[in-house]
Amino acid sequence: MSSFSSKIADIRKDFPILSREVYGKPLVYFDNGATTQKPKVVLDTIEKFYNSINANIHRGVHKLSAESTEEYEKAREVIREFLNAEKTSEIIFTSGTTASINLVAFSFGEVFVKSGDEVIVTEMEHHSNIVPWQLLCERKGANLKVLPFDENGELKVDMLESLITPKTRILSVTHVSNTLGTVNPIKQIIEIAHRHNVPVLIDGAQGVKHGIIDVQDLDADFYAFSGHKIYGPTGIGVLYGKEKWLNQMVPWQGGGDMIATVSFAKTTFNELPFKFEAGTANYIGAAGLAAAINYYKSVGIEQATAYETELLNYATKKLLEIDGLRIIGTTTDKASIISFILKDIHPYDTGMILDKMGIAVRTGNHCTQPVIDHFEIDGTVRASLAFYNTYEEVDRLVEGVAKVKEMFG
């Protein structure tokens, strides 16, 4: 065990919800892949903002509006630094990963994708990184191509080069699979795509809480993530995009704040990043997200990730001791997500019983039907861990699963 585990008791105190009970039992929260819990500092930031600063941004002549705008732009700088983007103009606030991907699928697609062109995704994508591209392809008469993965849940990266043609316009791939836990070799994938001048969008919904992200080192063209999956509030997300692409892309939604001048004859658009931020932004969400990122940094991103890996390895080892348990997603480089099935027991049944024991897991297809179809199963039970989880909680999960086996046996 690392020295990090000695800090867990203190860290847990930062998250008010972790001390609650469900059905009279202490909550074990293992659904961090769906959303993470929020430290008090995030909640305080939001409350303080509403109590003492709140005013609409980028508009007012008055003091509060100036302060509000300043907080919003400070948040943008926190995100820029967190991703190591070159410029704050490359950080666009959205409502979440889904909105970020839809933005690119529309705004990039309008300019660069035409009939007969190709878009590549992978077989392990979340529906949010499939459907926007399908809509684009339908709109433009383009074709969607799919990079498959193998039985361990590893992308067949060696096939990528043969999938790319002169008609390939963009590749969109997840950083970390939300169902399998696989950490994809995105740097290598980007490098291959760039050799053929194909830009790459990284779906960072799960990847953003797994180690340090450096979009310049990765050379990612786009990186999308959600605030609520990284200890921040819901309803705020980020799209990082290289300026050279964002400048060429058309606006996605029209409205206030995204324009320079409006007349009925012609409207001109605001500069980056505001061109893509129509309407009143979720500025309080942005401040909350910045607080979450600062908190995550103060915990120690690398140490937290290393601890999550330790916890993952421990959980994997203990779960595999249960006869008839099969882990779905068995590659070596995994984020702290374990999907499993129990022989002859439906995932929903397992999840129901675990719930009654106070253990929150997710069951089903996790919005990745192609992954579930690949393995020809009914779905999985997914435990997704965060740095505030403990070895004792893993033991409770393992005991719970053993009990499920006994009850259905």
Binding site: Y23, H346, Y348, D349, M352, I353, K356, T363, M407
Partner: protein, 142 residues
């Protein structure tokens, strides 16, 4: 037994169990005992799609009474399906339409019939009432 007498007897049976685990164990046994639906009916035509577990349901009208057959791929869901059938099958369409299914709440399984759990059961009850309504309409037209 009337429909409510069946409900009351289920409530009685479950009152023997004082903790949730025994109640669920009982549901699991009920689920296992319910004969599977005819393989030919395990098709989309009879499927009620919950996001999590699947439920198949069919109904016939025999001598003015509705006969339900149903199945699920998850055992707990199937256990509840079995209870719903026990209460609602072999009843007239009017009895089904008038039924107040209070037993689920009384035996502490309310959460399983909540729209927040996407197991298909809420949709199944709705579908059972739809069948009753359809049979009734047909009867009135005959």
């Amino acid at each position: 037994m009337t429909l409510n007498e069946v409900q009351d007897s289920i409530v009685d049976d479950f009152s023997l169990f004082d903790d949730w685990m025994d109640r669920y164990q009982q549901l699991i046994e009920l689920g296992k005992d319910l004969p599977p639906i005819d393989e030919k009916k395990r098709t989309d035509q009879y499927l009620i799609k919950g996001c999590q577990s699947k439920v198949w349901l069919d109904a016939d009208l025999v001598d003015g009474k509705v006969q339900f057959t149903a199945d699920s791929d998850a055992i707990i869901t199937k256990g509840i399906v079995s209870l719903l059938i026990k209460v609602l099958t072999n009843r007239t369409p009017q009895e089904i339409l008038d039924a107040d299914l209070y037993f689920i709440d009384k035996i502490g399984l309310k959460e399983n019939l909540s729209p927040t759990r996407s197991n298909g059961l809420v949709a199944m009850v709705k579908q059972m009432r739809m069948y009753a309504l359809a049979f009734q309409a047909k009867g009135n037209n005959a």
